[in-house]
Assembly symmetry: C2
Homo-oligomer: 204 residues x 2
């Protein structure tokens, strides 16, 4: 249920950009391919945001959802793994506007450590735990090869990191109190080819 709040937040921001001030659960539902009842139930779990028959005040609801999600503050983030994928993540323009700021980057390769990438000096993974503790970083993005992922995640957990975004094609283990989300484009593709198999090829 919490996992759908970012989706609602994004849809509300789009509606605001489109010039709207008020949204109904119907209009949100149409946009998100969900039933209005589901949306009302999800939001109702966190508070009373709408007035019967009047819909939701968009700027108010955006602000409330941002508070619930902890987005009314900036979150420093560490990146582990500065290979091709890690560099793309460093350059990804979507994090900063949403309050996620990559403050430290780590790698194990001597040829990468010491490089300055967009204002961030890559540091040795050997010093990672101390640096994370000192800087109070609680969120990490992991972009290391699959074989190294579990060891890196163990180190992050030891250093007090509580939320991990994992780009490696693995299902790493972490204590239950540490949140891990896997960003895996290949798995997303694989979950769609199942459907392609069973639908006809479109006429050309």
């Amino acid at each position: 249920m919490v996992s759908r709040l970012p989706l609602y937040l994004r849809a509300l921001k789009q509606l605001l950009t489109d010039g709207l001030d008020v949204a109904s659960s119907q209009s949100l539902g149409r946009r998100l391919h969900m039933t209005p009842a589901q949306i009302r139930k999800d939001l109702g779990y966190f508070g009373r945001f709408g007035k019967q028959g009047r819909g939701y005040d968009i700027p108010y609801l955006i602000n409330e959802l941002e508070q619930i999600l902890g987005l009314n503050q900036e979150w420093p983030v560490a990146l582990v793994g500065v290979g091709r994928l890690g560099r793309a993540i460093l350059g990804y323009p979507g994090f900063n506007p949403e309050g996620f700021s990559i403050r430290a980057a780590f790698d194990s390769s001597p040829s990468v450590v010491g490089q300055n990438l967009g204002g961030i000096e890559v540091q040795s993974i050997k010093n990672m735990e101390d640096i994370l503790r000192n800087e109070g970083i609680r969120i990490a993005v992991v972009a290391v090869p699959a074989a190294q992922t579990q060891a890196v995640i163990d180190q992050l957990v030891n250093a007090g990191v509580q939320a991990i975004l994992n780009y490696s094609p693995t299902s790493p283990q972490a204590p239950r109190e540490v949140k891990v989300r896997n960003v895996d484009p290949v798995m997303a593709l694989q979950s769609m080819t199942y459907f392609l198999r069973s639908v006809p090829v479109p006429p050309r």
Copy 2:
């Protein structure tokens, strides 16, 4: 349920790499933080793969899952949007080993069209529909700015594309028979900060 099969497939491949030949629903469950009953139920929906008390033969189950998911063939893929993110996607090493091969790339910017990137010549988005139809491409990866996403997806649907992996920070609309998966690292982070808010900062 289908959406969990790629997860099982990945875990089974890891176990095989680790030198194992047989997996129980218990060992899979421990690895994936799921109950054995859930795994047996999911797999049981698609066939009878295990023998009571003996567990699953890993190479056999991998092969079966790949057939179910349509992964025993190569899938040509189109990339739309060759900016910073699109270039990172073109360079992403994870697609090819799993049978997804980027065969065409499109952009609207005259400064990008005509460039050769890793053996693929970027083509004008104006010609996209014809090219996709001629090449029989049914899967597309979208990495265009948010404001252009819906128009691009409409074009893809017109061209017969049936599966779309969307990297834009939007919730685009598509007909129900077209599968869309959103890969959005920011939303993944946002769904974790909720939990960080409610747990104590670890001692330093």
